[in-house]
Amino acid sequence: MSVPRPARRFSALPVFALLALLLSAGLMPLRAQDWVHIGSNIPDGSQRIRLAAADMKPVGTDPQTPILKATFDATLFNDLSNAGIFDMVSKSMAPPVTPGSPQEINLAQWAAAPANAAMVAFGALSASNGRLVVYGWVYDAHNAASPQVLGKQYTDVANPDMARTLAHKFADDIIARLGGGIDGIAETKLYFVSARNGSKQIWAMDYDGQNQHEVVNSGTLSLSPRISPDNSTLAFATLGRQGWAIRMYSLNLGRMIAFPAGSTGGSNLSPAWSADGNRVAFSSSRSGDPEIWVADSNGGNLRKLTAFRGPDVSPVWNPRTSAQIAWVSGRTGLPQIYIMDTDGGNIQRMTDGGYAISPSWSPNGQFLAFSWNRKYGPGAPGGQDIYVMDIASLRWIQLTHDAGSNDFPSWSPDGRHLVFERAIGGRTAIWSMLADGTQQQQLTHTGRDFMPNWSWK
């Protein structure tokens, strides 16, 4: 500041040169990730809210309380850590007294080192007469005059499943309040294919890998589960005597429902819902060659979008507009990612080579995630990895590195997360990660789980 102006002007040139050098060399990877962080609303480390999640204070003497409390505490902390927007205060840094109500919290202690919390989530949990009741608060540690950010009561049947569910609800309420207006994903589900009991069938689990269970057993090989935007109907492909058909299963009715457009000859594969739930795109070879077709979700108004020799498969809609479809085409040899308008026009190739498959379109319409082997071919063993591409600029970033063969990325509804399939040594598992490739975690462990699909909110 005290440096006189002329002197500053002279010294500016080498500083700029140095800056330019730094930017072009060491800082490039950082800048390359910025667009992913901005586009997926994942704050950089320094901008994350420092959040403490205190253990719930147990109330009453019901023998179930300790196990329910432990489940709730672990689930809540895990949900908030997974959210990708918080810098979580380690449990070991919490002040010694566990606050069970606003009267019991000493905000100054939480605001001070070592916790250094900006926000504190806390509350009380009780189980009595088979009911689980949780009082949860979030307080601003630096606003002693008016600290309350959130205060809510949650109640349900007293069992570990519901303790997890209530923790998910509290986490999502916290994320909705502190996460820049984007709802949390703690209550979302993942649908996937599992062959753990023999043949490939459609399964579901909570977003964090808990509560894994079979949803539909079609009695025959089933692939590519895709849940409708209202989370009511599963579309998937099954291998019947007459070949592959798209079938629909109503979660509300608990039975299959008709989708006649999906079973009229040829292989019918890889269904995809438009964001309004009114249309379904899929691959069908009913006209001879595998092409992308679209039908209304009740099966009517069927039409073919592509017409080019070679495989066309794995369509996904732009969920923001429902006016574009991305898909995989082998029209020029190895499979590449393309996008087109939903009338089949404006075809644009997105990938410049290699083996590119399994696109998933981000909820805000900005990104494609897909699986890519950039050095595919005999004698050139490249990795099959997950990539994210910015559609407008075609720039991309590789999210997985040197860890098995990765496929079938699927965006979470908050656009901050991806779930995907990873195969290592013949064992295939479902994994999730943040959209910048960090926080990778394995969700299934049977070695026979495939093709995850993230539910809509």
Binding site: R196, G198, P290, P311, G330, S358
Partner: protein, 263 residues
Amino acid sequence: MENHQNPLQQRRSKTLITRKHVVSILVCAAALTILAGCKKKPAPQAATPPPVTAPSPTAQLTATPTTITAGDQVVLSWRTVDATSVSIDGIGDVPSSGVKTVTPTASTTYHLTARGDGGSTDATARVTVNAPQMAVAVPQDNSNTMTAEQMFKANVQDVFFDYDSYDVRSTDDAVLSKAAAYLAAHPEIKVLIGGYCDERGSNEYNLTLGESRANSAKKLLVQDGIAPDRLRVVSYGKEKPFCTESTEECWQQNRRAGFSIDQ
């Protein structure tokens, strides 16, 4: 770049000429394998002291018989000790001990993995599948000695594809011409053409690739005068492999259009 004569055909022609020799060689090979296996086993055990915490699982897998003709059944039986999860490639998770009947259509090495607290142990069993007696060596008059299925298999042979290609190799034109001639002479037969891919790449993309492979074979049969409504195409992608090893030979076995009688 690729070996254009498919391995199955090679095996079939060898089988034809010197079937007895092959059998004796196989017996010798099996004996050698067993001997070699016996010699190898004690070495690693001596080198590594047994773990203190949990014993590593033991696993045995046998196939009876070890040599069959396509279409015959093989009984797999396995026994494991100290395993918490046991799986056989291509079959999936299985009980710790058990018996299962399989009908391999091509030579297969069954691979069992037993996992336990003390680590994991593998066991394998090889089944050699010989093609049925060749029709080319049998005059048509004696066809009643073969089943219709065997006659079909002998005359309508599978065709194999290059890596990521769905174009029928020119060397396989003769295979399809022979198939078309047989089908033209047997108008009552309807055919199921299955499209298959190797294990690499996406399930969904491979299903369309398998579809395109089966369609390529169908197109050539139609060009040779077979009515399209006698030919049904189903793609199996990489979902129903003939062979489950990660080797080029095995991948080649799986990149095929496979023919069967559509019943």
